[in-house]
C-alpha cells in the first residue's frame, strides 16, 4: 500500500494575533447570544466588542462553550437529585 507523505505547515502558520475573521466574529456573536441566556453564574467577563484577534476570539469561544456544557451538566445533576429525593419521599 502506498504511503503518502503529508507536508506539515510551517511554524509561521500559527498566528493567534491574526485579525479576527468575519467567520469567527459571527461565531463569537452567536455564542454571545447563547451566553446571555445562561444564568449569571456562568457568564464570563469578556467584552465581546473588544475582541480583535483570533486568539482573543478563541479564548471567548472556549469559555462560553465550556459554560454551556457545564450549565447543562449541572442541571442534569440537579434533575437527578430531584428524582432521587422524590423516590425517597415516596418510600417513607
Amino acid at each position: 500500500m502506498t504511503l503518502i507523505t503529508v507536508p506539515r505547515p510551517p511554524k509561521s502558520a500559527h498566528n493567534p494575533d491574526r485579525a479576527v475573521s468575519s467567520l469567527l466574529k459571527w461565531q463569537v456573536e452567536h455564542l454571545h447570544q447563547a451566553e446571555k441566556r445562561l444564568p449569571l453564574r456562568y457568564h464570563g467577563e469578556v467584552y465581546v466588542n473588544a475582541i480583535k484577534t483570533e486568539g482573543e476570539a478563541a479564548r471567548y469561544i472556549h469559555d462560553v462553550t465550556e459554560a454551556i456544557h457545564t450549565a447543562h451538566e449541572d442541571e442534569a445533576a440537579q434533575r437527578l437529585k430531584r428524582v432521587l429525593r422524590r423516590k425517597r419521599g415516596r418510600k417513607t
Binding site: L3, T5, P7, A13, H14, S21, W26, A34, I61
Partner: protein, 409 residues
C-alpha cells in the same frame, strides 16, 4: 445485495471551509479528463476592472495570498455568478470584479482565479483520484457559512441567506434528532475540534443539545475502539490557538488559514478510520466544503427545487428576493470507501441537503416531514433495500480493496 452496502454501518461527513472545486481539484482534469476541472487550454477567464481577461492559473499559495478574505456573502456571490449581467445569465464572470471591490487593487484581485497544483494537495487530490469525486456538488445557497451548513444539519436554512442567528422552525428536525429519536434508536454525534474551536451550529444544537457533541480526540478514540456512531459530522479547527498539547493551527482551510494544516487534518480523519480494519470496511467518509469562499469556479450553479422559505429583498442585500431555487457555487466533494472503484467520477447534481437526505433514507427509510429541498435532493449512498440500482450505487465493488493509500500522519 452489494456487500459494500450490506456492511455499511457508519457514515462520516467532514465539512471543510470556503474553497471552490476548481481552486482545490481543478488541476485533476489534466490527470483524469473526466474531472470537470481546468487546464490552461480551456477558454475560461474573468475580466478584471481594466477589461483585461484573467485566466485561471496554478499559482495558489497555502497562506498569505487570499488576504483579505474574499467576500462570500449573498450580494458578492450574486456578482460572482452573474458578473453584473442585467439579463442575469449565470456566466461566472464576476469573481475578479468582486475581489477588486475589497481592496481596489487590480493585481491582487486577479489572484481569485488561482488554483492549486495537484502536487500541492497530496491528500485531497489522492483521495479524489482513488475514490469518488463529485463533478456537480454545489453549495446549497449562493451565500456564506452558517446558512449553508444548516442545509447539512436540517435540509434547509429556514429562509436565511446570511450569518445571523438561525432559529430552527418546526417541523423540520435536525438529522441528529431524527436518528436519536427513531425507533429503533440510532446514534449520532458531532465532533468539533476542541471547545476552543467549538461548533458553528450554536443557536440550536450546542445551546440546546450539547450532549450531541464530542471532540476530535474523542473521534480518534471512538475510531480506535470501534465505537463510532451510525452518523458522524466532523468540524475542523476554526482558529489558531493554544491548548494543553501546545500550539493548534487552524485546519478549516478558510482563508487565510494554512491549507496544508487542513490537508493534515483530512488525512488524520481518513487514517483514523482506516487504521481500524473493521471500521474501514463498514464506513463511508464524505469530505465536502461548505461553500466556495468567493473563489473562482467555472461551472454555473443550476436551478433547484425551491425551498418553502423565501428571503426578502432586504435580507438578500441585492434588492431582489430569493426563493432558494438556485444552488450556490461548486465545491469539492469526495466519497471515500474501500468499496468504491478507483477513479470514480460522479456527474449527478448534489448539494448539502443531500446529506440529511442520504442519512435519513439509509438509516430510517421513509421519513417526514422534510423540507422540499431535502425531499428532492439526490442521495450519495443508496439505501440498502432491494432492488439497488447498480448505476447509482457507488459502493459497488464485490470485494473490498486492498490497495487504498495510507498517509503518514
Amino acid at each position: 445485495m452489494p456487500p459494500g452496502l450490506d456492511k455499511l454501518k457508519h457514515i462520516v461527513v467532514l465539512m471543510m471551509e470556503n474553497r471552490s472545486f476548481d481552486h482545490m481539484l481543478g488541476s485533476l482534469k489534466a490527470v483524469n479528463p473526466q474531472v470537470d476541472g481546468i487546464t490552461n487550454q480551456d477558454p475560461y477567464s474573468n475580466p478584471d476592472t481594466n477589461g483585461n481577461l484573467v485566466k485561471p492559473q496554478p499559482l495558489a499559495q497555502f497562506q498569505g495570498q487570499l488576504d483579505p478574505d474574499p467576500d462570500h456573502h449573498f450580494p458578492a456571490v450574486d456578482l460572482q455568478i452573474f458578473g453584473g449581467d442585467p439579463n442575469r445569465a449565470a456566466n461566472m464572470q464576476g469573481f475578479v470584479k468582486s475581489y477588486f471591490n475589497q481592496q481596489r487593487d487590480v493585481g491582487h484581485s486577479q489572484k481569485i482565479m488561482y488554483y492549486f497544483k495537484q502536487s500541492d494537495l497530496p491528500v485531497l487530490t489522492t483521495l479524489a483520484l482513488e475514490f469518488a469525486v463529485f463533478n456537480r456538488w454545489f453549495a446549497s445557497i449562493p451565500g456564506p457559512t452558517i446558512c449553508n451548513r444548516a442545509f447539512a444539519h436540517y435540509g434547509t436554512s429556514f429562509g436565511r441567506v446570511d450569518m445571523n442567528l438561525l432559529y430552527v422552525n418546526e417541523p423540520f428536525k435536525s438529522i441528529y434528532d431524527r436518528l436519536i429519536n427513531a425507533t429503533p434508536k440510532h446514534t449520532s454525534k458531532l465532533y468539533y475540534y476542541d471547545t476552543t474551536s467549538s461548533t458553528m451550529e450554536i443557536t440550536n444544537l450546542l445551546q440546546n443539545q450539547p450532549e450531541l457533541f464530542g471532540t476530535y480526540q474523542q473521534f480518534l478514540d471512538d475510531c480506535q475502539s470501534g465505537n463510532l456512531p451510525d452518523y458522524t459530522f466532523v468540524e475542523p479547527n476554526y482558529s489558531d490557538h493554544d491548548s494543553d498539547s501546545g500550539e493548534e493551527v487552524a485546519s478549516d482551510q478558510h482563508p487565510d488559514h494554512n491549507v496544508q494544516a487542513g490537508e493534515l487534518f483530512i488525512a488524520s480523519i481518513y487514517q483514523a478510520i482506516k487504521n481500524n480494519p473493521t471500521l474501514w470496511e463498514s464506513t463511508a467518509l464524505l469530505i465536502v466544503y461548505d461553500e466556495h469562499g468567493g473563489i473562482y469556479d467555472h461551472v454555473p450553479p443550476p436551478a433547484c427545487t425551491p425551498d418553502q422559505f423565501t428571503a426578502s429583498a432586504n435580507d438578500t442585500g441585492t434588492g431582489m428576493p430569493f426563493a432558494f431555487d438556485r444552488l450556490g457555487v461548486r465545491v469539492p466533494a469526495i466519497l471515500v470507501s474501500p468499496w468504491i472503484q478507483q477513479g470514480t467520477v460522479v456527474n449527478r447534481v448534489f448539494d448539502h441537503a443531500s446529506i440529511p437526505a442520504t442519512i435519513t433514507k439509509f438509516f430510517l427509510g421513509d421519513y417526514s416531514p422534510r423540507s422540499p429541498r431535502e425531499t428532492s435532493a439526490d442521495v450519495f449512498i443508496e439505501p440498502n433495500v432491494p432492488p439497488v440500482n447498480p448505476a447509482r450505487n457507488l459502493l459497488s465493488l464485490g470485494v473490498v480493496r486492498a490497495d487504498c493509500p495510507d498517509f503518514d500522519v
